[in-house]
Structures are given as structure tokens and as C-alpha cells.
């Protein structure tokens, strides 16, 4: 084999010379071009987590209900009745910045495959999106393209898009974020691991033919972007949701057969990554014959085939005696399957082309051998919160806030997504958390994504704690008990000390919060190098969370239900305005200490909520988050189509903080008048402070003498189009 150090090949795959030397040490010789390409993809930040892996070890990943933690295609958690939920969130930021429609579409496609590779039927998709302002042509192009791509893929595939979030901030103007989460359901005994542990098994490549699309996609996702990034458009793949639907049905049917050893999707780094990972997990080796791979075009090299990121492909490992029955399944769905290799006992990945050995690598080095990076960390200096003039016209501020891009109704977006297909959507998009029926049961699974990057920018530790706490609060508002977490850590270039410092503090906050709230992290994804022409995105951890509701009849809505019901605020309000949407609206600098989560208060609040909803005391519940209390009250009024009469909001804090502060650990609830004593008793039992806010009814939102806005006016502002 050639033994020439090709520095341009090295640069093309974003490996540094120390990493090159580590490769030489591991394989005992110079790698050839193909091998450099394979190492480059496998040792990319995207695939190897070389910068984040050491930090991620802090995360709690175990719990009594965890069936599968990180390290597989997705995590899995027991939900009783012999069923499990399988879920994961993943980023597709870089491709979406270049080609928003296909970038977002294939992001959805990738996460769906992760879930059905585990044997689970995908039942829901959520998307956490971040964009720059819509007043620029590029901002609007990215926003429209991404939203259309998500809908285009999910709608055609037939999995409902039930939730997520969309935020706008100047910091995402160059580099939008597209994080897609998928939730699936599977019987325990059909939960599948992508582990090829039997030498002699046959490796089948099923689905799309392999093209030149997406070559070096994993590498591309692991470097900063610049003005020439649009030239990477060929590194963005093109999705075919129809083919994915067939693949999904075939895999689910295959999953019922005996003799199927492993199912693995092809994502970043294509065949190289999926083949090596499934063989390495099973502590075996794998031989691949690239000539057997069906291609879209002529003249493709082994390099192209091994690194293509063509979408809608799966690797299936079967016992030789099961190949025929597997092929029957593929035939039924009119899918093409190539027998491209075999599982061996060698611990190596060997690639042959025209009979010649063109790559021969030890799997341990390829999959697990990357030298971890520990960049220098630095921390931004904390500055005091800006001092702003007192609010003079709270009514006008409330209307401006509820019409602002971050707080207005998301209906124009989610109505372009099919959020009902599969007949399980009990509470769809637009509320704190989505709630889906677990098919065939009377149980509900609640799901949400959260993350406020303004808090994280102010204090990565506290901001990430807040993201976990808010996600959990969203889940408990439906009546469901939070059970597990997935996460997507979107940050800038970690080679910059301030950025690595953000990541380090953020992961510490995530670990502490998950531990405090007893939530195992079962899957996740890290997206670094979200930097364009030296501008980095705001630090943006996104938390995906799933909860379980044992009896759907106990679910709790978010809107006011009956006139005459009494509205309370649970939790404590502090003088906390830094990082708020209110200050953003005023154009204040982003400075100060973000709202601080008290784990103790949060735990008590969640227990009190579940106790109250379980006893049927609450008529509605809605989390107080972005925009503060008045926004939460306005939303509950709009959801329920009923006004609110509030004599005034008294408290120890300023009027601004009371109305628009975003103190954590707060929930607005309503109860029937006769059940007020019961609520008071429950809150006192759980040591949760409560404050009477007002009475449901009328056509207006009325707060003391400060605010009187008709629901109609409020709705018009809220429904400001994008």
C-alpha cells in the first residue's frame, strides 16, 4: 500500500498532524488516502466527540427505567406494559446553513432512521430551530427553507411533527440551528441493538443507491464555516422520504424475524461509520467489498463509496440462513438490497475493491482511538444587569411582547406540519409539551424541547440548569412525570477558550440538573464549530425530554377552562429581569445574572403539580417562561378563549419583574372555586408558595388598573404572521 503523507488529503478531512501520528502509531504504517479519509470521518468532532467526550462523562446515564443509554442509535426507557420509548435529538446545523430545505429534511430523515433502527415505530418528531432576524433576505430564506424541509420530509414519511421551538436572535443570522428529535415506541423484547456479534453473518446494504452526495459531510460539520461554505453544497445530501417510509416498514417487519442480528442506519460518515461501529460494538470485525455496492453514477472510487452520505440507507446484519427471509421482506417493499460483506472475527475493517485490499484498519483505533482534545477554557466576565427605566405603559409592552417573533403564535409554522397522522396526538403543537397516546394503551407520553440561549450566554451553568428545569416543568404541566432526557449541545468553535468554557459550564449544569431531578440522559448529540467568518452562535444547549402519564384521562390542559375558576401562581417571583424577552424588546444589552433555578423548589413544585393533577384538582396549568407572568396569563386566556380579571399583582418585586421577569419554578394554574381549599392544602403539604391572581371570565385580560386588553386585540397581536 502507498505510504505517502498527503498533507492536502489531511487538510481535506480536518485532521491535524498529531492525529495523523496517532493513526500511524495505531496501524503501524502510513495510511493510504482511503484510510485517511475513513479516519478523518471517524475522528471528526461530529463522529468522535473528541472535544466533548471527557465532559460528557459527567452526565447521569443510568436509572431504574433505562433500557438503553447513550452509545446506540437512540436511548430507550421502560414505560411499563412491556413497552419502551426510544428517542434521540440530533443537529443538522451546517447542512441547513448551506441548503436549508434539504439540510432540514435530511435532519428529520436521519433521526427517524436512528429510531426505527432500534426496532421502534417513530410516533413523533419535534424540532428545535434557531434563526437570525427575519428582516434580512437570507434570514427569511433560511427560515422558510428549513420549515418547508421539515414539513416536506415528515409529512411525506407519515410521522407527526408535534412540537419543538423556534427562536430568533441576531447570533444565529449566519448559522441557524436545526435540531430534530424523534420519539418511537417498541416492545421490550423487540428493542434492537446495532451490534454485530457473530462472525460469519451477512451484511446487507438496503435502500438508496450510493451516490457522491454528502462526501465529507461529517468533516464539514466539524469545521467552522466561511464565505466559501456555500461551495460545500455538494456535501449536503438530498432526502427521499418516500424511500425512507418503505425502509421503515421493512425494518419494522424485519425486526420480527429470527436471525436478524443488527440494524444500523447510515448517517454521518456513511458506510465507514455504520459498518465499523456495528462491528466494533459486537467486538468483531467486518469485511466489505465495495464492488457490491449499487451506485448512482459511474466512476465512483472506493473512497466515494465508503464516505458517501447518501440518505435512506440501512445496514442489516443477518445470519446466513436468514438472508432469504430478509430478502422476502425487502422484495415486498420493492427495496433493493446488496450483500456487501461479512462479519469476521478479526477486529478489523477490511475493504476490498476489484479483489484488492484497499483499506485494512483496526476497529478499535478507527472507532475509539481518537486522541481526546482538552482545549483551554476561559470564562466571560460577569457584568451587572442593565438598569432600565420603569415601565410606563405595561399594556403597550405586553402587546409588543406577545407580537414579537419569539413569543407570537407558532401556528403559521406548525399548521404546515402534519401533527396528527397515526391517530395518537392528544395535545399537538403550540402548548407547553405535546402529549401522545402510547398506541394500544391509555397511557400518554409527553415530550418537549427547551433551551434559552440568552440565559446560557449570561451564565452557561445556570442557563443550562434552567433549560432542564423548564423542560421538566413543561412536562409536569400536562400531568406527566418526566422520565428521561436527550440533549443537543450546539456551540461555537471550541478551540476558542471562551467557547470551550461555555461548553464546559453548560455540561456541568446539565449534569447537575439531571442528577437533581433524577433524569437520566439516554442519548444526545454535540454540534460544535457553529462559527461563520469568526462569528460564533450563542451557546445553545437544547434539552429534549420525555414524560409518562399513566392515565390519559388525567391530562391537564394549558388554557382556562371555565368562567369563575380561580387562577393562582405557584412558585416564587424574584427580582430577575436579566436575559428576559422584556429587556430584549427594550433593546437593553444582554448582561447580568439570568434567572436562577433552585433544584429544591423545582422538585417540590413538580411533586405538588403531579399530586394536584393526579387528584383532579387543577383545571389548567401553564408554565411561566419566556416573557414572564403576563405572557403566561395571556396565553392561557387565548388557549381557552376566556378572559381574566386580576385585581392586581402584589409582591415584593418591582412591577417590571412581577409582570415580565422570568423567574424559574413558576406555573400558572386554575381551579374550580370549591377546590381552592384542596389546592391550598396540597401546596402547603409540598411547601410550594401560591399567590391568588384572579378569576377566569369576561372578554378581556385585566390586571388592576394597568392593563385591560380585549382577547380579540390580544389575539391579533399574538397571531402576527412571520
Amino acid at each position: 500500500m502507498a505510504a505517502v503523507i498527503d498533507r492536502s488529503a489531511l487538510a481535506a478531512v480536518a485532521l491535524d498532524e498529531a492525529e495523523y501520528r496517532a493513526i500511524v502509531r495505531a496501524i503501524g504504517r502510513d495510511p493510504n488516502d482511503l484510510e485517511i479519509g475513513m479516519f478523518g470521518a471517524m475522528w471528526s468532532e461530529h463522529c468522535a466527540y473528541k472535544t466533548s467526550r471527557a465532559l460528557l462523562r459527567q452526565l447521569p446515564t443510568e436509572g431504574p427505567h433505562v433500557l438503553q443509554g447513550p452509545g446506540e442509535n437512540a436511548g430507550a426507557v421502560d414505560i411499563g406494559d412491556g413497552l419502551a420509548v426510544v428517542f434521540k435529538i440530533e443537529s443538522h446545523n451546517h447542512p441547513s446553513a448551506i441548503e436549508p430545505y434539504q439540510g432540514a429534511a435530511t435532519g428529520v430523515g436521519g433521526i427517524l432512521r436512528d429510531v426505527f433502527a432500534m426496532g421502534a415505530r417513530p410516533i413523533a418528531i419535534l424540532d428545535a430551530l434557531r434563526f437570525g432576524p427575519l428582516d434580512s433576505g437570507r434570514g427569511r430564506h433560511l427560515f422558510q427553507g428549513v420549515v418547508a424541509g421539515i414539513g416536506g420530509y415528515g409529512n411525506c414519511f407519515g410521522c407527526p411533527t408535534v412540537g419543538g421551538e423556534v427562536y430568533f436572535d441576531d447570533g444565529y443570522a449566519d448559522n441557524p440551528l436545526v435540531n430534530a428529535m424523534c420519539v418511537g415506541v417498541v416492545r421490550h423484547d423487540r428493542l434492537r441493538r446495532a451490534r454485530a456479534d457473530r462472525a460469519g453473518d451477512v451484511v446487507l446494504l438496503v435502500g438508496a443507491d450510493t451516490g457522491r452526495d454528502g462526501i465529507h459531510g461529517a468533516t464539514f460539520a466539524s469545521v467552522e464555516m466561511d464565505d466559501r461554505s456555500s461551495e460545500r453544497r455538494p456535501a449536503v445530501q438530498v432526502g427521499n422520504p418516500f424511500l425512507e417510509k418503505l425502509l421503515c416498514e421493512a425494518c419494522l417487519r424485519l425486526n420480527e424475524l429470527d436471525g436478524v442480528t443488527a440494524i444500523q442506519d447510515l448517517g454521518a460518515a456513511g458506510l465507514t461509520s455504520s459498518a465499523s461501529e456495528l462491528a466494533h460494538r459486537g467486538r468483531r470485525g467486518i469485511d466489505i467489498d465495495v464492488d457490491r455496492v449499487s451506485r448512482r453514477e459511474q466512476g465512483m472510487s472506493a473512497y466515494d463509496v465508503m464516505l458517501s452520505e447518501s440518505q435512506e440507507r440501512m445496514l442489516i446484519v443477518v445470519r446466513p440462513d436468514a438472508e432469504a427471509s430478509a430478502r422476502e421482506v425487502f422484495d415486498h417493499f420493492e427495496l433493493h438490497a446488496d450483500r456487501i460483506g461479512t462479519i469476521t472475527g478479526t477486529g478489523r475493517m477490511r475493504v476490498r475493491e476489484q479483489g484488492a485490499l484497499v483499506a485494512d484498519l483496526p476497529l478499535k483505533a478507527l472507532v475509539d482511538g481518537v486522541p481526546l482534545r482538552t482545549p483551554a477554557a476561559a470564562f466571560a466576565e460577569k457584568r451587572p444587569a442593565p438598569v432600565m427605566p420603569a415601565v410606563e405603559e405595561p399594556e403597550a409592552v405586553l402587546l409588543d411582547l406577545i407580537a414579537s417573533p419569539n413569543l407570537r403564535s407558532r401556528r403559521p409554522i406548525y399548521r404546515t406540519y402534519d401533527h396528527q397522522v397515526q391517530d395518537n396526538t392528544v395535545t399537538g403543537p403550540g402548548f407547553d409539551a405535546a402529549l401522545l397516546r402510547v398506541p394500544g394503551t391509555n397511557k400518554g407520553v409527553a415530550m418537549t424541547t427547551d433551551g434559552n440561549s440568552r440565559y446560557v450566554a449570561l451564565d452557561p451553568y445556570e442557563g443550562t440548569k434552567a433549560a432542564v428545569a423548564e423542560a421538566a416543568r413543561n412536562i409536569v404541566c400536562t400531568g406527566a412525570r418526566p422520565i428521561a432526557v436527550t440533549n443537543c449541545l450546539n456551540f461555537g468553535n471550541p478551540e476558542r477558550p471562551l467557547i470551550f468554557g461555555q461548553l464546559q459550564e453548560s455540561v456541568r449544569g446539565l449534569a447537575d440538573a439531571c442528577r437533581a431531578l433524577e433524569l437520566p440522559v439516554v442519548s444526545g448529540n454535540v454540534s460544535l464549530y457553529n462559527e461563520t467568518s469568526e462569528r460564533n452562535i450563542p451557546p445553545s444547549p437544547v434539552i429534549g425530554m420525555v414524560g409518562l402519564l399513566d392515565d390519559l384521562s388525567l391530562r391537564c390542559p394549558a388554557g382556562f377552562q371555565e368562567d369563575g375558576d380561580i387562577v393562582f401562581l405557584l412558585g416564587e417571583t424574584h427580582e430577575e429581569l436579566a436575559g428576559s424577552e422584556y429587556l430584549r424588546l427594550l433593546g437593553a444589552p444582554l448582561e447580568g445574572r439570568p434567572p436562577i433555578v433552585s433544584f429544591e423548589a423545582e422538585r417540590r413544585l413538580h411533586a405538588a403539580m403531579l399530586d394536584s393533577i393526579g387528584k383532579g384538582v387543577l383545571r389548567c396549568a401553564h408554565d411561566v417562561s419566556d416573557g414572564g407572568l403576563l405572557i403566561a396569563l395571556a396565553e392561557s386566556a387565548l388557549y381557552g378563549g376566556r378572559g381574566l380579571r386580576c385585581p392586581g399583582i402584589a409582591g415584593p418585586v418591582s412591577r417590571e419583574a412581577a409582570y415580565f421577569g422570568e423567574s424559574q419554578g413558576r406555573i400558572v394554574v386554575s381551579v374550580a372555586p370549591r377546590r381552592v381549599p384542596e389546592l391550598q392544602k396540597l401546596m402547603s403539604k409540598h411547601h410550594v408558595p401560591l399567590q391568588a391572581i384572579g378569576v377566569v371570565g369576561g372578554e378581556d385580560l385585566q390586571v388592576g388598573s394597568d392593563i385591560r386588553i380585549s382577547l380579540e386585540t390580544l389575539r391579533q397581536a399574538w397571531e402576527t404572521p412571520f
Binding site: N155, F242, Q420, V421
Partner: protein, 228 residues
């Protein structure tokens, strides 16, 4: 009926089997006959990805000849969403479904006014009755040339129109630009109905409403009546 890319098949089966307790079997697109069933549902989805005009490929599926025979013999056929598009492509129903006027996919609950109770799927409805049923489509903008439209209206083949909650047929209640707010039509005999809204999604209060059940119940009654 399951074509490659169909996805409402399981939802329709859920409505008919789990909710209404009537037996269901999935018909594969390659089957040659549907003579063993009483009612054929062409569910929603993206048959063959609908990368071409919606339903344009599915109508060539081997089973479609059997469906046409079945329909011509008076068998009950319901086309929902993509199923409606396929029935049009197969010329079992007139007109065409264009891209939504908004040029966007729309998934939301809408109100439908039942225009006639002669079709097999509206027997149990009264004309003027308002049903709340969701839509979920990008290409549901009903179009037909003036003569066809006139004939549909004259013959009472317009089965559903998009309307306001109080049954008024208004421009605001039209989610996709359909001519005459038409949401569903039947053939001349009333045994074949196509509609863009998804009644199978409106069969349980838990999921937001059960107004869709009346369509399936009507069909069951129509079948019972024929049998007697």
C-alpha cells in the same frame, strides 16, 4: 388499500377496527381482486412519494382495475386525501386537486357542511349538518371545468363544503382555494366518495372530536341495507 407511501392505512384500520369493531384487512396494491370486501378505503399518504402529480402513479397499480370494477358494480369506495387524488387520477371521480392556494401544506381542524345525505357515506347525516374534521394536505384545491362543476352541483354530487362553524360557506373558511369550497364529492351513484379531510382522525373525543364516525357508520348502514 396500501400503496407504497400510504400512511393513513393504519389510522383507518384503527377507526374501523378498534373504534367501530368492524373487521378490516389491508389490501396490497399488487392484488388482483377486492371481491371479498364490502368497502374499500383508499387512505391518505404520499403514494410513490407523490413526486409526480399526486396519485398519478398509484392509479396504475394492478389493484386499481379491481377497484374500478368493484365501484362500477356499486361497491362502496371512500378515497381520503391521497385516496381522493388517486380516485380522480383513475377517473372514478371527476375534477382535479391543485396545489393549495396558500402554496403551503395545511394541517388543521376545519368545519364541513354536509351538502347531501344520499351518498353511502352521509346516509346518517342531515343536509346542512356541520362536521368538525381535520385536513392535512398540500394539494387539496378542488378544481373542475365549468361544465363538470355545473354537473356536480346539479346532480347533487357535492358532498361536503368547507364552512364556518355556523355552516356559512365563506371565503375565510376555505383552507385551500377549492372551487365552491368543495371538500368532497361523490360519483353519480353515490357509492364512491372522495374527500380531502381525514374522518379517520376524528373518531375519538380524546383526539379532539368524533364527528368523523358518522361517515363510517353511514357506510355500515348502507351495507346493511343492501344486504337486507
Amino acid at each position: 388499500m396500501v400503496f407504497p407511501g400510504t400512511w393513513s392505512d393504519r389510522d383507518c384500520a384503527h377507526a374501523v377496527l378498534d373504534v367501530l369493531q368492524e373487521p378490516v384487512r389491508y389490501i396490497d396494491h399488487r392484488e388482483q381482486t377486492v371481491d371479498d370486501v364490502d368497502l374499500v378505503i383508499l387512505p391518505g399518504g404520499f403514494s410513490y412519494g407523490d413526486y409526480l402529480r399526486c396519485g398519478a402513479i398509484a392509479r396504475f397499480a394492478p389493484v386499481m382495475e379491481a377497484v374500478a370494477d368493484f365501484a362500477h358494480r356499486g361497491g362502496l369506495v371512500l378515497g381520503i386525501c391521497n385516496g381522493f387524488q388517486i380516485l380522480q387520477e383513475a377517473r372514478l371521480l371527476p375534477g382535479a386537486l391543485l396545489r393549495n392556494a396558500s402554496c403551503e401544506f395545511r394541517c388543521e381542524w376545519v368545519h364541513l357542511r354536509v351538502e347531501q345525505s344520499n351518498s353511502a357515506f352521509t346516509l346518517d347525516c342531515r343536509p346542512g349538518q356541520v362536521l368538525r374534521i381535520p385536513i392535512s394536505h398540500g394539494e387539496g384545491n378542488f378544481f373542475a371545468d365549468a361544465d363538470t362543476l355545473d354537473a356536480l352541483e346539479r346532480n347533487g354530487q357535492v358532498v361536503f363544503r368547507y364552512c364556518a362553524v355556523d355552516a356559512r360557506v365563506t371565503a375565510e373558511s376555505n383552507p385551500n382555494g377549492s372551487l365552491g369550497n368543495i371538500a368532497g364529492i361523490s360519483n353519480a351513484h353515490g357509492n364512491v366518495v372522495g374527500m380531502m379531510p381525514h374522518p379517520e382522525r376524528a373518531c375519538e373525543p380524546l383526539l379532539g372530536g368524533d364527528d368523523g364516525l358518522i361517515l363510517f357508520r353511514s357506510a355500515i348502514r348502507a351495507l346493511t341495507r343492501v344486504a337486507v
